[in-house]
């Protein structure tokens, strides 16, 4: 699939109804498609996803034996065998902020070394996905998606004496602005496809037409209104006009994609009560969003920290969080590892779909950089050392798979984030408490 169509958007389409006095920004959509394609070949399209698992990991069952390219997949990682050539497992990285459960999700994408001090102090750092989102925002209809499987139910202090906010989200727009993660597939659908109720092209096109006609009509009125006000008072009306233009630009983008044939999906009614059904819907929506280039940055939590979800379907009816406090009893660790492996199984099915979905000159998976892992290693001790992390995907040619990398000098995880930003062609100097880059291309074994 290519989001580039041969049809460039005529400038006139947007100007209809607008006074000629307002200058328009030059939109990418106005470039003839050929030049865009040329640009695309030079700079590959990257897609970044985080797939987060809560409550630590049974490390005895996670860590692969061996190092470099001659490594043996562990019981938990075994379901990813078909994707070994696009899999890197990283051992030895340390959490930037190790504080019970808040530090786990709070620093996973932010690299922050501290959060607030009290329940009412909400403080971390900008997260990596948001830095990417800002960069991609001009290219995609939705800058980023933040998704989870649990509603943000709790309020007050959740972990230690810190706010529940740290466990509800991985993503921070600014040091003081955590982003909510959407768990209702209905809302996700509406964000991506509008409120027509289905992905059906005709319905979406109709809705976009309706919105455009409304906005055109409104713009005429705004122009007239502006003329009635003195120069000092026109600022507010200008704000209004700016937003109209912004929405029109998004509509134009959406119209380009509206003609795509997408798998038919009705808008989900709400949150399915069964975990598998709920997860399937959320993953369907993620594949759709990536496939249609509606977004290139997704952050997904399969469970939030302290998740008490039981997994009777795999024979583990105990709540996850209490089970994760296994007091190092071997039987209980083994039991918990079943949950960890189950998560990887579900993830590998998702990866398989990404591999099977066409994307330009390869598959979606070829162009993706997926960060899979947890912010805690030994769950019983809430340990932040030697985090269970894996990078999956082709990274548009920037990632070398098929290796187990061991970092003996315990670098902070933020270094991995900085390195990934590099790989995604959005280099940054520093993220949170990072101390430099991580060598992930040439480590022992290659």
């Amino acid at each position: 699939m290519s989001f580039l169509t041969a049809k460039a958007l005529p400038r006139r389409t947007i100007l209809r109804g607008l006074g000629a006095t307002i200058a328009l920004p030059f939109l990418d959509a106005m470039l003839p498609a050929a030049s865009l394609r040329a640009r695309a070949a030079a700079a590959p399209i990257h897609r970044f996803q985080t797939f987060y698992v809560p409550n630590g990991m049974a490390m005895e069952y996670w860590t692969p034996k061996g190092e470099g390219s001659a490594f043996e997949l562990s019981p938990i990682l075994e379901p990813l065998a078909p994707f070994r050539d696009q899999l890197q497992v990283l051992s030895g990285l340390k959490a930037n902020w190790n504080y019970i459960h808040a530090g786990a999700s709070g620093s996973f994408l932010t690299g922050t070394t501290r959060g607030g001090r009290t329940e009412v102090e909400i403080f971390a750092d900008v997260s990596m996905d948001q830095l990417l989102a800002r960069h991609f925002a001009s290219d995609t209809q939705v800058a980023s998606l933040e998704l989870a499987m649990d509603p943000p139910n709790n309020a007050g202090a959740c972990t230690g004496n810190l706010s529940c906010v740290y466990t509800h989200t991985l993503c921070w727009r600014s040091p003081t602005q955590p982003l909510p993660m959407e768990y209702n597939p209905r809302a996700v659908f509406e964000k991506l496809f509008g409120d027509t109720g289905s992905t059906e092209a005709a319905a979406r096109e109709k809705r976009l037409r309706e919105q455009k006609s409304i906005l055109d009509s409104v713009t005429e009125k705004l122009t007239a209104l502006r003329r009635q006000l003195g120069p000092e008072d026109q600022a507010k009306v200008s704000q209004y006009t700016e937003s109209v233009r912004d929405v029109e630009r998004r509509i134009a983008k959406a119209e380009q994609q509206a003609g795509l044939e997408l798998p038919s999906l009705d808008q989900p009614q709400g949150v399915p009560p069964v975990f598998e059904d709920h997860l399937a819907l959320m993953l369907d929506l993620q594949v759709l969003a990536l496939q249609s280039d509606l977004t290139r940055v997704i952050s997904f939590m399969i469970g939030k920290e302290q998740s008490a979800r039981p997994y009777p379907q795999i024979g583990v009816p105990e709540a996850h969080h209490p089970l994760s406090h296994h007091s190092n009893v071997p039987e209980l660790i083994e039991r918990m590892s079943k949950i960890n492996r189950y998560h990887v199984e579900l993830f590998s099915k998702y990866v398989a779909r990404l591999r099977a979905t066409h994307d330009g000159d390869g598959s979606l998976l070829d162009h993706m950089t997926i960060l899979y892992g947890a912010g805690i290693s030994n769950s019983n001790a809430h340990s932040g050392d030697n985090l269970p992390l894996a990078v999956v995907g082709g990274g548009a040619g920037k990632l070398k798979g098929g290796r187990h990398l061991i970092y003996k000098d315990k670098p902070p995880m933020a270094n991995l984030l900085v390195t990934l930003m590099d790989k995604l062609d959005v280099p940054i100097e520093r993220l949170g408490g990072s101390t430099g880059h991580l060598q992930i291309d040439t480590v022992s074994g290659l």
Binding site: R117, T118, E119, V120, N153, N154, A155, G156, A157, C158, C164, R186, E190, D195, T196, G197, S198, A203, E210, Q211, S213, I214, S217, V218, K221, L222, L225, Q228, L229, G230, E232, D233, K236, V237, Q239, Y240, E242, S243, V244, D246, V247, D266, Q267, Q269, G270, V271, A308, R309, P310, P312, P317, E318, A319, P322, H325, H326, S327, V329, E331, L332
Partner: protein, 838 residues
């Protein structure tokens, strides 16, 4: 100077008597002049020289204020500076503690004399200020407008972006309300949803709406007036069913920390009702088979701490798996109620601390009460249209019988709604636009109703609906000859239509109704008698009480923080969300009673009654109150309760989770009661108190705040803030009365004021606020004025506030007299011109 102040005070009293006796409030510009001319300049300058110039000299310029060499003979000319002086004089906050201070009488005399001079000049030429030209409707106003246009009682505030508030102000200030892309996108989406619901078009796909009960709401009693007697817990929802069809109502029970459904050790009965009629009665609980899990989470990880598989499955999923009904429902607003049948447990009689924390613990899994966690309403399935709903009746004032009638009928419907929505007569251009959209919608949607819906969708995004625009009159803009310009140089009168909008958004947070609009169209609002009549009519409407309580008072008193209150469960193990809800309800009912009974605003402080239910009465120590219904009670001990200052809501929102805060309370009192807000702390100050060390009893709050007294930089402000907070120390962090505090010593609820007096306890605080009868009404008026105008008050508004309060004295400062005073004041009815502002 010794004998002078007394004489001076007498003279001043004379002025005040003259002013009060000649009150007439019929016209815009106040006719009452504040007394005969008597030069006061010889009296002010010596006071300044003696007490103020030491610091506020031309050389030192302390705090940027220079009082040396100012022209004290003509305060009106330097009103901006003198208003600041007046504020300090009234608050007695200057000179600072430690410096020589004038006596009480001098303070009073100086302030009054300055006010009189400034007010006189203002009366001759009032500056009405200039509100921003473009004023967007905020969320609440948008929601209420929808309600009034379409008779649709939906809550769309959660679908719209939050409104910005500048610090300490209201969310209806014109300059602060921005219009962003997010707003526009939401307006487009909400407009579509709302119009489809109002017209009765079926939604594209069925939806599930979920309603949750907060985790810590106790469900041991009758939960709501909308549920029947003999029920326990649950919830009642007023839900707008969009179209005739089948709907699924599903109940999810409350779970505790480990996701076990609570109370499943014994059978209980759960009822589902629609509009009061019983639809189905379920039996839940008592069916767990096999060995249960350990009774409490000890975390020792022993294999087998979970129960048998069958038991676990029942407790986590099975118990409430089948709690759903699928029923046909007719479109429109209906009451959906879910509750248990009341079967009470006899209390054991053994004192057990209630286990609460951020989650409900494992102990509460079995033999306690089951509770409702959430209610979902899904649908419509097998949807038909909507024939008869309140909103269809409101919209469809005609029905076309034949195709040729459609256009005419559409025009009638749409122009009628446009007039109300745009708050002015509909024009030909309006009709043209809306009919065009009607035609498109008719064609694409295939029905008359679909055409109306699309036109209404367009209407709700129109700038004339979303914005209140204040346009300078054309003559001002064009630029006139000198004489005409002279007449309009300073300010111009708002049009009747603009005034009608201003009035309805002030009193109702909504669009004008037909009667008000008609009066404005006929130009009758320039008649002050008619205007007053409309105001009284609007105040008597229950919408006014709701708007002024839920929007004005809730922001003025910072009550919206109530839902954020968190309490340390180790210290207050009796606290739950039911108490929090009761706090909110008490204050709401109390404020509402003063408004609907048109009481004096002073009753907010001195009232001898309040509203309680059983839970709140237990907390306050009021005996003999049973049941969850709120009722008015007369308070017998006004030293312990009475008035806003004894409301749990205010006491809880001015505390921390584990302790009281005299500083937060003192600041709240200065901001919202005394009207003399303290400046913010200097930058870089660490405001966290050290936590008391374990073991020994902690020190008293007074001891912990000792630095505020010993450090000169702190005491400048804290000498005014802290004493007021100390006076409330008998109330703990959740507003309960206590005789000893956490230090184990008896509470010392006295505060040493800067003036040298002492304020003691709730009664003392109340007396202090009422000592100067005009002080509290001025605070209320200033807040209400800013809210009514939609902008911050400036120094040139202060004379208006004083005038309004002076005029209201004859009516004992009733709410209506303040409101009418505000409406009649120049700032409400006029607007300064661009020229004057420049």
């Amino acid at each position: 100077m010794k004998g002078r102040p007394t004489v001076f005070a007498l003279v001043t009293c004379g002025w005040m008597a003259v002013a009060w006796s000649s009150v007439q409030s019929q016209t815009q510009a106040p006719q009452t002049a504040p007394g005969p001319v008597r030069s006061s300049s010889p009296d002010i300058k010596p006071v300044l020289d003696k007490y103020c110039i030491t610091c506020h000299s031309q050389r030192l310029k302390t705090a940027g204020v220079v009082l040396e060499g100012v022209d004290a003979a003509n305060p009106a000319a330097g009103a901006e500076l003198w208003e600041r002086v007046i504020t300090r004089l009234r608050a007695r906050s200057m000179p600072p503690a430690g410096m020589p201070r004038p006596d009480e009488a001098t303070y009073h005399a100086m302030a009054t004399s300055l006010e009189a001079a400034i007010d006189r000049a203002w009366a001759a030429n009032p500056n009405p200020g200039r509100i921003g030209a473009v004023h967007r409707l905020n969320r609440v106003e948008y929601n209420n407008a929808i309600r009034d246009l379409f008779a649709l009682d939906v809550d769309v505030t959660t679908e719209l972006p939050g409104d910005e508030t500048a610090d300490g102000s209201f969310d209806n200030f014109a300059d602060v309300l921005s219009i962003s892309t997010a707003h526009l996108e939401r307006y487009l989406s909400v407009g579509r949803q709302v119009t489809r619901l109002a017209v009765g078009l079926p939604p594209a796909v069925p939806a599930v709406d979920r309603f949750e009960i907060p985790l810590h709401v106790v469900q041991e009693d009758l939960q709501s007036e909308d549920l029947p007697f003999g029920s326990r817990g649950g919830m009642a929802i007023r839900y707008d069913f969009p179209v005739d069809g089948e709907y699924v109502i599903k109940v999810r029970l409350r779970r505790q920390y480990q996701d076990y459904v609570m109370g499943m050790g014994w059978p209980q009965q759960l009822d589902v009702r629609l509009d009061g009629a019983l639809i189905k009665r379920f039996t839940v609980g008592g069916e767990g088979k096999g060995r249960p899990a350990a009774a409490s989470y000890a975390g020792d990880g022993e294999p087998g701490f979970a129960g048998d598989d069958e038991w676990e499955k029942y407790m986590q999923f099975g118990a409430d798996a089948g709690l759903e009904v699928r029923i046909p429902v007719k479109a429109g607003p209906r009451l959906v109620g879910v509750s248990f049948v009341r079967q009470m447990w006899e209390p054991e009689g053994l004192p057990q601390p209630l286990q609460r924390g951020r989650v409900l613990t494992n102990d509460q899994i079995y033999m306690g009460y089951a509770s409702v966690g959430a209610l979902s309403i899904a649908g419509p399935y097998a949807a038909a249209g909507a024939k008869d709903t309140p909103s269809r009746r409101a919209i469809f004032v005609c029905e076309p019988r034949r195709a040729v009638d459609e256009r005419g009928c559409a025009a009638k419907i749409l122009t009628r709604i446009a007039r109300l929505a745009y708050r002015r007569p509909a024009t030909a251009a309006d009709e043209q636009t809306l009919i065009t959209f009607f035609a498109t919608g008719r064609r694409e949607g295939g029905s008359f109703d679909a055409g109306i819906q699309f036109a209404l969708e367009r209407l709700l995004v129109d700038p004339d609906f979303l914005l209140r625009v204040h346009r300078d009159p054309p003559s001002l803009q064009a630029g006139l000859g000198a004489s005409a310009r002279q007449a309009q140089r300073d300010a111009y009168r708002l049009s009747d239509l603009e005034l009608a909008s201003r009035l309805s958004f002030f009193l109702w947070n909504s669009i004008p109704d037909d009667r008000l609009l008609a009066a404005a169209e006929r130009g009758q609002l320039s008649n002050q008698a008619v205007l007053e009549q409309q105001v009284r009519r609007m105040l008597a409407d229950p919408r006014a009480t709701r708007a002024l309580v839920d929007n004005f008072a809730a922001q003025w008193l910072n009550l919206r923080r109530l839902r954020e209150v968190v309490v340390d469960p180790n210290l207050y193990d009796d606290f739950d969300d039911s108490l929090l809800q009761a706090f909110g309800e008490e204050t709401r009912l109390f404020l509402g009673s003063t408004l609907s009974e048109d009481r004096s605003v002073l009753d907010l402080l001195r009232a001898n009654y309040t509203f309680v239910n059983e839970r709140l009465a237990r907390h306050y120590g009021i005996p003999g109150i049973y049941g969850s219904r709120f009722r008015r009670v007369t308070l017998t001990n006004l030293d312990q309760r009475g008035g806003l200052l004894g409301n749990g809501s205010i006491l809880a929102t001015t505390s921390y989770p584990n302790r009281t805060s005299p500083v937060l309370r003192g600041k709240w009192l200065l901001d919202n009661m005394f009207g003399t807000p303290p400046p913010p702390p200097p930058p870089g100050v660490n405001t966290t108190l050290e936590d008391p060390r374990g073991g020994a009893l902690p020190p008293t709050m007074r001891e912990r705040l000792a630095q505020h007294r010993t450090n000169a930089v702190c005491s400048t402000c804290h000498s005014a803030i802290d004493p007021l907070g100390f006076a409330l120390e008998n109330f703990d962090a959740i507003g309960g009365w206590r005789a000893t505090d956490e230090s184990g010593k008896p509470v010392d609820a006295s505060g040493g004021l800067v003036s040298g007096d002492t304020v003691r306890g709730l009664a003392g605080l109340r007396a202090l606020l009422l000592a100067e009868p005009e002080q509290f009404p001025r605070t209320v008026t200033a807040k209400l004025f800013a809210y009514a105008l939609g902008r911050r008050l400036e120094y040139y508004d202060r004379p208006a506030v004083r005038q309004i309060v002076r005029d209201a004295a004859a009516n004992d400062y009733r709410w209506s007299s303040l409101v009418i005073g505000i409406v009649k004041s120049p700032a409400f009815q006029m607007r300064a011109s661009q020229v004057a502002t420049n």
